[in-house]
Amino acid sequence: MTVILILAALFALLLLRVPVAFALGGLGLALLIAGGFSPLMAPQAMLSTLDGFILLAVPLFLLMSNVLLKGGVGADLFAAVQAWVGHWPGGLAVATILSCAIFAAISGSSVATAATIGTVAIPEMIGRGYRKDFVYGLLAAGGTLGILIPPSIPMIVYGFITEESVIALFLAGIGPGLLLVVLFVVFAMLHARFLGGQEAVPAASWSERLRASRRALPSLALAALVIWGIYSGAFTPTEAAAIGFAASLAITGLVLRTLTWKAFRDAAMEAMMTTVAILLIIAGAKIFGKAITLYRIPQEISLFISQTIDTAGAFIVVVAIVLLVMGLVFEALSMVLIMTPVLLPAAMGLGFDPIWFGIFMVVMVECALITPPVGLNLYVIQAVARARMAEVARGVLPFLLLMLVTVGLLYAFPSIALYIPFHL
């Protein structure tokens, strides 16, 4: 009964538009006081959250993404990839997905990815006669690769709250990320072959290809540096974020000379606002998490799940449905923070690897990012393309199905995620 009351109170606060951070923190604090526990835990939880070295990676990755976005590297990247694959059937769509994937490797954010590539790819594709809803869906979905291909802010947060290795999570995201890229590319080519009405793009000459590639080279080198650094253990994810930020400043400020002082200030303010919003939700979730643990809520839910659902497959189906439904109205990161502590004990009880479960959560969060009415990437594309929500929402449907196929494959073949971190 307590479980239902507490969850009902939380959902009531959230739906009344109390900011997620304070709904979690406020309710947690109220529960501590009501249960006769010390409210000192609230400021302590806030402090211990902000004292986590790994979370320092959040503002730094955001700074890097925002600097690259303001510095306009999206155009160079897209031009380079387009020069190589633009003449394929559905070539611009393929170039869009590959550009998203490359930008995802330098950005931990799906919004930044969708915005960076969308700004250049949408007008180009629509100009060449691609169907609008397909273009919007492609960009909204392609943007979500930002959080599956490392670095990834949701993975940092998941690693922080579950005390799992962020590096292992990053590495585990590569396989499913590439799988999703392949599925998107194949779909885009089939769509262009059978449903498209787009003009073909002439193949670029070798000199054009080399010229475009040279301009995109710094961004590609940055992606390689970040991934290599984390993978080889040369630096921690937080240090990789710092290096990436410094390198993004060097690329846009010194090499490409596209970053103005005003653009840098805007990028820093934007990164700061997002960071504060994210970190306070984590702090709120920590207070709430402490309170519900004292009330033994996760244990009770875990017990309930293990008594009602006894197979791993059924568990994943139920969790996927719950997350999909939640994803209709919930913002993605809040979902990870609210559901992980509740679900992970039960998942581990059923034999799931916590790293695998983290990747599963991230793919489900990607779905949440593109399911209307509340899907952050839909808003981004709507804003970038000045499109109608209905068009964007219609366009994402096939991509959503492909993501669910990925979840199925991930369940059937866990090594898609776990091979790279544990066997390579």
């Binding site: 304070f22 406020g26 402090l47 710092a242 700061m272 994210i278």
Partner: protein, 167 residues
């Protein structure tokens, strides 16, 4: 009131600058470690302080700009008079949380300050350096929440930009 708005805006700018500074310190750390084989003892600890101070100082301005992430789908459907109540209530929840956390945060800070407790790390900084921004930031947030509460009651609130959070 205008002075308070200027204060929170200044705090936010300081917050953004502190994050960038943290990036500079950690970059220096990696460069010093690999190129000069001379890792610092201060970069990790001071950059962490930047994160703590930056976040807590800036949170009031983030509220003022309506940038805290909230679930809008349901509230957006409510009729305006009801919205006025829910928006006011939402700000009251923040004010209550901020007031209590500021008060208890202050006792943690004061305790460390009086006893002269230190972090016990390499720099052995006073522990209150990291603890002070909790009551400070929450107190400023409390005042901002009261202002936003008054505005909400008067029918003025910021329609959310649907949070830029997750990313």
């Amino acid at each position: 009131m205008r002075a308070f708005a200027a204060l929170t805006a200044a705090f936010a700018a300081v917050g953004a600058a502190l994050f960038a500074l943290a990036g500079a310190m950690l970059t220096y750390e990696v460069v010093a470690r690999y190129f000069f084989t001379a890792p610092t003892i201060w970069a990790a600890e001071l950059s962490q302080l930047c994160l703590i101070w930056g976040t807590l100082l800036a949170m009031a301005q983030v509220l003022a700009r309506g940038r805290h992430i909230a679930v809008d789908a349901v509230a957006a459907q409510l009729p305006r008079p009801v919205r006025r109540l829910t928006e006011t209530l939402a700000m009251a929840v923040i004010a209550g949380f901020a007031a209590i956390t500021a008060a208890y945060g202050w006792t943690i800070f004061w305790d460390s300050f009086e006893r002269g407790r230190t972090t016990g790390s390499m720099l052995d900084l006073p522990a209150w350096l990291a603890e002070l921004p909790v009551p400070l930031g929450c107190a400023v947030l409390f005042v901002q929440a009261l202002i936003s509460m008054r505005d909400a009651w008067a029918g003025r609130w910021i329609e959310a930009g649907h949070g830029e959070g997750e990313r």
